[in-house]
Amino acid sequence: MTDQRFFSGEHHLNDYGVSLYVDAVLLDRTGELPPEITDHVEQCTACAAHVLEMCEIMQDVRLDRSVKHPFLDAAVKKPQRIVTMYRIAAVFLVGIFGGVLYYSLSDHKNNIAPDVAQHSLSVDSTTGDKTTTAPTSTGDQFAANFTPSPNLDDLVQNEFRSESITIISPEIGATVSSPITFRWKSYDGPVKIKILSNKEVTLLTSIVEANSFVTPKPFAPGLYYWKLEANDELLFVGKFFIK
């Protein structure tokens, strides 16, 4: 998830973002920065220049490495907390599994009530079709996954370079299913493919030598954007739906 604290409205690093990068450089901890910040500085010359200048200024301020960093050290702790949460969840799941097993062995399985809290089943009286309706909160969440991103929508279908790339698939706005195959032509050399959620979070980045790319992992239903970049330039922005 992109940490918006570090970005300005114009999608550049703000003073917090630049300061965080500078802290990381001076403390030799750039490897611990959030990927969205390092990716941005790699591609944005203006922000890289800003960081460079701040590092130059800060050279005369010797940072005390023993003092805990409010973000970098907090980020290190997070996985431990997550591991603890996973452990608790695992114990909980084992408990549930044990319970279910006990009931099924005790011939109680027929008495288990259907989980009506999760989904409600209704029958259309005219067609007889069964439809499953998700609860409102889940439904809202589901709908939110299809809300277009105004920033990325603006970039879709723009031509970015004179030597433009020809996209074969998926077509802009196409509905696809996982694994998704991306194909293009008329471009020599490696390109960087990025898949972003409708909330502008980069979900996948890969350098591709060939003219196609197949996603290694399935994506949840929703609206997604994809970008092709080469030589620090944007070649194409497209979007697709997964239902």
Partner: protein
Amino acid sequence: MPTTNDFLDITLLHDDKDEFILRCQRIITIVVKHFIKKGLFLPEQYRDITQSVNEELIKRLPGIRSNFDNSVLLVTYMNAVVRNICLRLFEQERMNVVTIPLHDEYRLTEEGNFNSLIIREEINRLAILLRMYGLQQYKLVVCLKTYYRIPVTMQDLDRCFSKCNQAERAVLLEQCVANYDKTPEIENFQRLVRLLNIQEQKSTSADSLRRWTNEHIHKIIVLLNGTPPRSAHTKETIKILFEQLTNEQ
């Protein structure tokens, strides 16, 4: 002026405005002197600029106090704030540009010393720039050495190819040292890419690695030259700086 990051703390920011401003003087001095060195302000403007920065900082303090979210070091954030104030003052100054004739006191008497200072500064900037690459810096260093035909060291290879075994690294080192100057550039990259593909689990070609190196040299040139340009670096000057930097390490 070496300082540490504990001279400014968030408690002071909230509880003792005067002491906080007083401690910010170190930062203000560093930043204003930086911009004087860069030529944005004249040396004789130092006191006036410092005064103006202080006035603006006092005005901005309530905002800083309520907005600072403690996600970064306060000393770094205050440097960013003072830098912004200086740039704003420079913009205001630019509106009333006054040209002044070059007096004798500005004439350089010992150009040699001045040049070596500039070179020192540019080497420092290049070193910072490489550190900005994080873990990628080791890859970039090896690629730059290959591009500029500067012999790589075992330490470079150890840092860059941690996932390759020692024997593979030793073979590469031998090849690099023995025939660096005689072999075509693409062959040198070919040797490098073989290990890099093991390291990164990719299938990059030697040519694309050479292109990647070229792109980053271009990026280094753009960043060191600045916008608007205040230096005129080329691939050759980067080579000189990089050679100097690697000799020192």
